[in-house]
């Protein structure tokens, strides 16, 4: 099975993700224009890449979430297919309702580009099986709206369901709100839906997939996905 990377007007990490999937991880990958209404045959994974779809105007991800391709992505997810939203892609996922919550402006009201440490909270998802539970990994972030927000009772429910997959952390393994570079509630950096097949995260694994770029921890994500895809192909 292959990966499909959706390109929205203003996506700017689409080529980066394709590089990480195809050139680095040898996962067959196809780009899909947002005006399409169906996904390529044999799509196992849909990636909504980072960037500034529609310039981040109005609300980040809002206009991309109303693209013609979105119903097909929704349908793919409902059949258990994998959907991965990175940064702006995560914002698109919350705007479509495929994931709960909203991403608000960073508490500093500034764009932040920097390396971050994350704690892997779950390894029983198709995206994180290659990590060790509690492992601390380093991915960069680069966003202006990354403060994960949910009203209190829904946040509790999210936590109770164990939907938090990545949390901002320190090198010694503690994780939580105080490590959020952007003010994200409970230090939330990435979450899955209840089914575990839709993952959204603010940090960029594709920017941490080669030694030469400073970290190859992102390979954990691609390797997990690859294993899942290969398992499905058999």
């Amino acid at each position: 099975m292959k990966a499909a990377v959706v390109i929205f007007p203003g996506s700017n990490c689409d080529r980066d993700v394709i590089h990480a999937l195809e050139a680095v991880s040898c996962i067959p990958t196809q780009a899909v224009w947002h005006k399409e209404t169906s996904l390529p045959q044999d799509t196992g994974l849909v990636v909504l890449p980072g960037g500034f779809s529609y310039g981040d105007y109005l609300r980040c991800g809002a206009m991309a979430a109303r693209s013609p391709i979105v119903p097909a992505v929704r349908e793919h997810a409902s059949r258990g297919g994998l959907v991965l939203g990175i940064c702006n892609g995560f914002q698109v996922l919350t705007e479509t309702g495929l994931l709960p919550g909203a991403l608000l402006a960073n508490i500093s009201l500034e764009f932040i580009c920097s390396n971050c440490l994350l704690k892997v909270e779950r390894t029983d998802t198709p995206f994180t099986s290659a990590f060790k539970k509690g492992q601390i990994v380093q991915f960069p972030i680069a966003h202006h709206e990354g403060l994960f927000f949910l009203p209190e009772n829904e946040l509790e429910e999210l936590e109770a369901n164990g939907q938090v997959v990545f949390r901002y952390a320190s090198a010694d393994g503690s994780a939580g709100q105080q490590y959020s570079p952007n003010g994200a509630l409970n230090g939330i950096a990435g979450i899955v839906n209840k089914g575990g097949n839709v993952l959204g995260l603010m940090p960029h694994p594709e920017r941490a997939s080669e030694r030469i770029l400073g970290s190859s921890d992102g390979l954990g994500i691609w390797n997990s996905i690859k294993e899942w895809l290969e398992g499905r192909s058999k």
Binding site: L58, R59, A62, M63, R66, E95, G101, A102, L104, A105, N106, I107, L109, L147, F149, P151, G183
Partner: protein, 83 residues
């Protein structure tokens, strides 16, 4: 007929208004000590064509639901004038 709709989008009570807070702090630092609260929202002006006022209203409400407002974090108020 032509209409102009004015959609005022504000953050819901309980959603942190980081920008409003920052502006309040700035104003205080600039000597405006009398300021108690600042809330920042969006104002969206839409000029549109419709055959009647109710139709225009309905369209604007639909646009709000479909795109302009995120009900998890925002509320809106719409006013409409014929032009």
């Amino acid at each position: 007929m032509k209409f102009r709709a004015h959609v005022l989008v504000s953050l819901k009570e309980g959603v942190l208004d980081t920008q409003g807070k920052a502006v309040r702090v700035s104003l205080k630092n600039m000597g405006y000590g009398s300021v108690e609260e600042v809330r920042i929202g969006k104002s969206i002006m839409i000029s549109l064509e419709a055959t009647s006022r109710p139709k225009a209203e309905k369209q604007v409400e639909a646009m709000c639901d479909d795109l302009l407002v995120n009900p998890l974090i925002e509320t809106r108020s719409v006013t409409l004038e014929a032009i």
